[in-house]
Symmetry: none
Subunit: 196 residues, 4 copies
């Protein structure tokens, strides 16, 4: 008797997810080029062949990992946007981003690793630019609502601080004063602008 469709889909979902997280782990740890498909299969405790039942090739696995990571990030951001009124979201957004950094540093390590690889940007470049634009436009809206004078420019600036902070943290997590830096960001951008 064959497995039912539901059984199969469960199996597929579980295996797929196992491959994805092994791949994420390894890509972040050793880099895309230095991670072999065999590495991934071994880490996910399955055969190479099976991996290819789930993903067409290494590149589309990368794409899927990227989407997976992005979905995680998006989920956090969306939750903040839904739970807070415009103009008060910035501190929460920052908190969300940096909480994720502390809890899942490999997400961001992967993110930046991919973003600086020309060969990979050829594949994922548009995805990256879209994300960046999206998040920055969030910032613009918040800064705008908060009555800041140059929301566009400040959004660029803020985005730069965030990215810089994330990467500095990843470079040396034990010494980078993440909490204070985040607080400083919030002070600089998060409070309502009180004109004299």
């Amino acid at each position: 008797m064959p497995r039912t469709k539901e059984q199969n889909e469960e199996i597929r979902a579980a295996t797929r997810s196992s491959i994805l997280s092994s791949a994420l782990q390894l890509f972040a740890e050793k880099g895309y080029a230095h991670t072999t498909t065999r590495n991934i299969a071994q880490a996910a405790d399955l055969s190479v062949g099976l991996m290819y039942h789930y993903f067409d090739n290494k590149e589309s696995l990368l794409q899927a990992v990227f989407d997976f990571v992005m979905a995680r990030i998006d989920a956090g951001i969306t939750a903040v946007l839904l739970a807070n009124p415009p103009g008060e979201r910035l501190p929460r957004l920052l908190q969300t981003i940096f909480d994720l950094l502390a809890s899942e540093p490999q997400f961001w390590a992967l993110f930046y690793m991919l973003r600086t690889q020309p060969a990979i940007m050829a594949v994922l470049g548009d995805g990256f630019r879209e994300r960046t634009a999206l998040l920055r436009s969030c910032f613009v809206e918040e800064l705008s609502e908060a009555g800041r004078e140059e929301p566009e420019l400040e959004a660029y600036y803020l985005y730069s601080v965030i990215e810089g902070a994330i990467q500095q943290y990843l470079l040396d997590p034990d010494h980078y004063p993440l909490a204070e830096i985040v607080e400083k960001m919030i002070v600089q951008f998060g409070g309502k602008h009180e004109p004299v």
Copy 2:
């Protein structure tokens, strides 16, 4: 007639430099992993074998390229330090860094590409951390001299803005408002702190 020693050394220096700049160009363009030694040799217009007379292997060539780029950056920084008194160097330092970014973006592209590659950080990691610490200690000194209250923390923050700005610019050079961002940095960190 055999070449004199000087002629030989000149040739060696020129060849070496040609290899280095070809490698830099290609690494920045296609990434380290996707650049073959043959690519580099062709770009530098010499045989693969000869390249191995100049560099032991691909990794040490990378190391040399890195040193080459760093020397270039250091030169600019040192010049600023020598030409200006403590407490007034910050704006010049920023200007120097971002001038180099505009004129030689591939320097920084390579810098960040390498820094996000685990496999490469295993080789160059210490170099990176040293540079970072060095430049940040410059900032600390300047901020300290300028009478800022939390020079250490501000140096971290400033460093983060700089890195973020550089990478945002590299991601989309045509739209990133580099000049305004730099100006904003100078306003935030470069002016003397005037206590009320």
Copy 3:
């Protein structure tokens, strides 16, 4: 209610036949090596696993396809032999062969595709040689009955023309003058030999 034995056998026969014709189609279209078992299963609209209930492996499926094709050819030949007296069968045999070529070219395409593959001839070689010998001995008998002087040699010659014609036709069905060629064969070999 479980199926009766007859129902089961009917299903089996139908499934088996469906696999066979899918395989024939695909082998002829893409070649044996380029046809995957999955391809065949999909074309026959069943699972890979089930296919292996019907055929032990790809090779034995090929064997079965070959037998199937041969049976088809044999049937035509036998019918001619039964319906006509010795000495008058040659034109009908030719007609039968070339009618089948026009109606089911993939039979012959497969036939020759297999026959020129060393790896396949290792498996099917004897079968091929037997068929060839059988058909040629038919020719010998006919030519002999018809009073030709060198029936053995002429049978070889005739057989060669037939094979050449089939393959030329398969190479370029739109231009090869099949009908005229067959007619020429009949003129050359099919008429009674009238000694002066």
Copy 4:
């Protein structure tokens, strides 16, 4: 001191030729799909990598082998055409073709093996059709010169006998009466047509 250009070209020519003949041998013996690149390299007594210095990939090696075989066949045909006046070339052409068959059967084995493989015909198909058309037009000319009534049709017929004979011979070289068959061809097509 590097090798001179001539030395290199000599080496390249020798190696290339060695690869080609090993590939021809193996393709003919085991078929294209069953011959691995490693097989070829081993047979030519060199490394896999080196093979790829000479041929871009397996397919282009096949193409080169095909061209090589064709050049050999062409050479024979051209020589006959040059050495004999129109109208008298047919017997010589046949002799040349079948001499080559006897001396280098693997040429023709390869030829027919390739021609019946759909996947390969996708690559070499045009080459095959060109050759066929060329040789047949030779026949047409000869038959025409010789005053035969239907040179076009006879050329098709003749071509078919030739192909059939070659393949029958390859199927069973020990028993196929090649010499007699060729003689018969010459009798049928090679003599001047003497109208009553």
